[in-house]
């Protein structure tokens, strides 16, 4: 399940769906990203998130397929918000369920890392009345390459 949407999401609903994925599920790993007060800038009051409709969903589907090739993945649920977000808002959710905990952790972290460097989303930080397009971090590229 992959969703790109403006509206907020409820991780509890996603967790319930993962938990109901069958009696072989022993492990559920989830990640949620929130808008925090310091990114490239400090004093961040909000974000604007742009994406490339169509391509985004395709890229994320590819990441889930790749994760499923590498690890035991019973189900994966990914939500990414776009548009205007406020401080402390939820941005992204990645949840994976598996028979085994190592697989659940690895697949969840892999999808999250790869999403940051290959899915066409762009973040603009807002601090009061200034705006700043976030620069890609070398550290994020390194994290993604570490899965190769």
């Amino acid at each position: 399940m992959i969703r790109v949407q403006q509206q907020d999401f409820d991780p509890a609903e996603e967790y319930r769906a993962l938990r109901n994925s069958g009696s072989g599920t022993g492990a559920i790993a989830t990640f949620t990203g929130l808008v925090r007060d310091s990114g490239d800038l400090s004093g961040v009051t909000g974000l604007f998130l742009e994406h490339y409709p169509g391509m985004t969903e395709q890229v994320i589907e590819g990441l889930v397929l790749e994760a499923s090739r590498r690890w035991d993945v019973r189900d994966a649920r990914i939500i990414h918000r776009v548009g205007s977000l406020a401080l402390a808002d939820q941005i992204v959710f990645v949840g994976v369920c598996s028979a085994h905990r190592g697989d659940a952790f690895a697949a969840c972290e892999f999808i999250m890392d790869a999403l940051k460097t290959s899915a066409p989303f762009w973040k603009k930080e807002i601090t009061g009345d200034t705006e700043h397009w976030v620069e890609q971090k070398a550290a994020d590229l390194d994290r993604t390459q570490s899965w190769d």
Binding site: G54, M55, Q58, I91, L115, F121, W122
Partner: protein, 89 residues
């Protein structure tokens, strides 16, 4: 009104590029052998904020919604997108 012909290529821009070029979409004529990188450099010759497309900042390229390298040859009907390195998640 100009109809997009079978020979056209749609070009899209996103995020900082979209804002700085003040352009969301434009249409160009396909030319035999034209690559995505060549198209990018030809757009850079428009000058002004377009000049940045000529290597000043990294520009990522997708053709038909799949990330690609600059040497990818373009076909009539292709959708090409140019955008800054992605920063989601």
């Amino acid at each position: 009104m100009t109809m997009a012909t079978d020979n056209s290529i749609t070009v899209k821009f996103f995020a900082r590029l979209r804002e700085e070029l003040d352009t969301t979409t434009l249409t160009v004529e396909a030319q035999p052998g034209l690559t995505a990188g060549q198209l990018l450099r030809s757009l850079a010759t428009k000058g002004g904020s377009w000049a940045q497309l000529d290597g000043e900042q990294p520009v990522m390229i997708a053709v038909n919604q799949v990330m690609t390298k600059p040497d990818r040859a373009l076909q009539p009907g292709d959708e090409v997108a140019f955008f800054p390195p992605v920063t989601g998640g």
